[in-house]
C-alpha cells in the first residue's frame, strides 16, 4: 500500500458520509437519550424524570429474563458454530474441482435474506407438514416448536447454525489455505501427530480470522431479530423473546417510550462495550 500523506483537505471527501450518518445516527440516538430521561402523556408534553426509567428497566425481571435468554442463546451459538466451522474447514478437500463445489454450496445459506430463512425453517420444521418435524417425531420425540419451549429453542439454534456456520467455515478455510506446504512437510519430518499439527501450525494461523468470526457472530447473534420473529414470534409464551424482540414489543407495541429508550441505550452499551473489549484484545494480540 502506498504511504499515506497528511492532508487536512481530505475532510471534504468524508463530509458526505459524516452528514448522512449524522442524520441517521446522531438525531435518532439523541431522541432516544431524550426520551430515556422524560415522561410524556402525549401532545409532545414532556416532564423531566431523571434516571427513573433506567432504574425501572434494570430492576425489571422482564429485562433480566430476556437478557439472560440472550446471553444463553449467544453462548450456545458460539460454542456450536465456531468448533463446528473449524472442524468442517479442516475436513474440506484441499484442491481439485470439489473445492469450488463445496464452497459454492456452503455459501448458499449466507445469501438468503433473513426473513426468508425464518419462513423457510418455519415450514421445514412444522411437526405435521415439515420434513424436519416429521423426522424428529418419527424418531419418537414429541416435537412441536410452536408449543414446546425446548423444541422452539432447538429449532431457533438449528436455524442459526444452518444460516451462519458457513461463514466460520469460509473464514477458517481461507486461513488454512494460506499455510504454505513447507510447514506440513517440516511437521512430517519431525513426526508430528495430527493433533500437534493442528495445535502448533493450523490454530495459530487461524487465530486472527477466528477472532473476527467470533466478533461477527457475537454481534449478529446478540442483535438477532428477524429470524426468531418470523419463526416463533418470541413464543411459546416468552421463551424465545430475545432482547431485540422484547425491545420492539415495548417500543412499537406498547409505545412505552421512556422504558424502551432506556432499554435501548443499555442494550447498545452492552454490545458496544463487549465489541470494544474484543477489538482491543484483538489489536493487542496482533502487536505482540
Amino acid at each position: 500500500m502506498a504511504r499515506k500523506t497528511t492532508n487536512q483537505k481530505a475532510w471534504f471527501l468524508v463530509i458526505p458520509v459524516v452528514l448522512l450518518v449524522a442524520f441517521n445516527a446522531i438525531i435518532p440516538l439523541m431522541t432516544v437519550v431524550n426520551y430515556s430521561f422524560q415522561e410524556t402523556f402525549g401532545d409532545n408534553v414532556f416532564f423531566w424524570e431523571g434516571v427513573k426509567w433506567y432504574e425501572q428497566v434494570l430492576r425489571s425481571s422482564r429485562f433480566h429474563d430476556s437478557l439472560l435468554r440472550q446471553i444463553i442463546f449467544t453462548s450456545i451459538i458460539l460454542v456450536i458454530e465456531i468448533p463446528l466451522g473449524v472442524a468442517i474447514a479442516l475436513a474440506m478437500p484441499k484442491k481439485g474441482i470439489w473445492v469450488s463445489v463445496c464452497l459454492v454450496l456452503m455459501a448458499l445459506p449466507l445469501l438468503i435474506p433473513w426473513n426468508v430463512v425464518g419462513a423457510m425453517w418455519n415450514i421445514y420444521a412444522l411437526p405435521e407438514l415439515g420434513l424436519l418435524g416429521r423426522i424428529i417425531n418419527g424418531m419418537g420425540f414429541d416435537y412441536n416448536f410452536t408449543q414446546g419451549p425446548l423444541a422452539a429453542w432447538f429449532t431457533t439454534i438449528m436455524m442459526d447454525v444452518w444460516h451462519w456456520t458457513s461463514l466460520v467455515v469460509l473464514l477458517a478455510y481461507a486461513a488454512l489455505s494460506s499455510i504454505p506446504d513447507a510447514y506440513y512437510q517440516a511437521a512430517k519430518i519431525d513426526g508430528a501427530t495430527p493433533w500437534a499439527v493442528f495445535r502448533y501450525i493450523q490454530l495459530p494461523k487461524m487465530k486472527r480470522v477466528l477472532t473476527i468470526a467470533i466478533l461477527l457472530r457475537f454481534m449478529d447473534s446478540f442483535m438477532i431479530y428477524t429470524e426468531p420473529f418470523v419463526l416463533t414470534g418470541g413464543g411459546p409464551g416468552n421463551t424465545t423473546t430475545f432482547l431485540s424482540i422484547d425491545l420492539v414489543k415495548i417500543a412499537l407495541g406498547q409505545f412505552d417510550l421512556g422504558p424502551a429508550a432506556a432499554m435501548s441505550l443499555i442494550y447498545f452499551l452492552i454490545v458496544l462495550l463487549t465489541s470494544w473489549i474484543f477489538y482491543t484484545l484483538m489489536m493487542n494480540n496482533e502487536e505482540k
Partner: protein, 150 residues
C-alpha cells in the same frame, strides 16, 4: 481415515440443502397437497404458485418495492461512501481514526434500538411509509460497511 474426512463436508452440505429442497418442493405443490398429506416430492406438479406471484399485483408490487429500495440504497451508499473510502485509504487527517471507529460503531448498533426514533423522525419529515425511508434507514448500516470494504 481418508473416507471420514470426505464424509464431514458431505454431511454438512446435505444438512444445508435439506431446508432449501423442502422450500422448492413446497413451491411446486398445490395447497391441498401441502396441507392434506405428507409427500417427499410433488404428486401433482403445479406451476400455479409461480403464475400467481407473477400475475397478481399484490405479489409483484413487492418485487418492485424491493428493486426501488435496492437501487436507491446502492446509489446513496456508493455515492457517499466512495469519496470517504478514498480519503481514508489515501490521506491521514485530523481525527481520522476516531471517525473510522465511530462509523464502525453504527454497524454494531442493534437495529431494534433505532426502530423507534426512525419511526418518529421519518414521520416528522413526511418520509414515513415510502421506499426512500427504508433505503435511508438502511444506509446507516450499509455505509460503514461500504467504507470499510472499499
Amino acid at each position: 481415515m481418508r473416507r471420514i474426512t470426505w464424509l464431514v463436508p458431505t454431511l454438512y452440505i446435505i444438512f444445508l440443502m435439506m431446508p432449501i429442497y423442502w422450500l422448492i418442493n413446497m413451491s411446486f405443490k398445490t395447497t391441498n397437497e401441502i396441507l392434506g398429506s405428507f409427500t417427499l416430492w410433488p404428486k401433482e406438479f403445479t406451476l400455479d404458485n409461480y403464475i400467481t406471484i407473477f400475475t397478481d399485483p399484490t405479489w409483484y408490487n413487492g418485487y418492485f418495492n424491493s428493486l426501488t429500495y435496492v437501487v436507491m440504497n446502492t446509489v446513496i451508499s456508493v455515492t457517499v461512501a466512495l469519496p470517504a473510502a478514498y480519503a481514508f485509504s489515501r490521506y491521514r487527517f485530523l481525527g481520522e481514526k476516531h471517525l473510522f471507529f465511530w462509523l464502525l460503531t453504527n454497524r454494531m448498533a442493534p437495529p431494534a434500538v433505532f426502530a423507534l426514533p426512525f419511526f418518529q423522525l421519518y414521520s416528522a419529515v413526511n418520509l414515513f411509509d415510502t421506499p426512500l425511508a427504508v433505503a435511508l434507514a438502511h444506509t446507516l448500516f450499509n455505509v460503514p460497511l461500504a467504507v470499510w470494504i472499499l
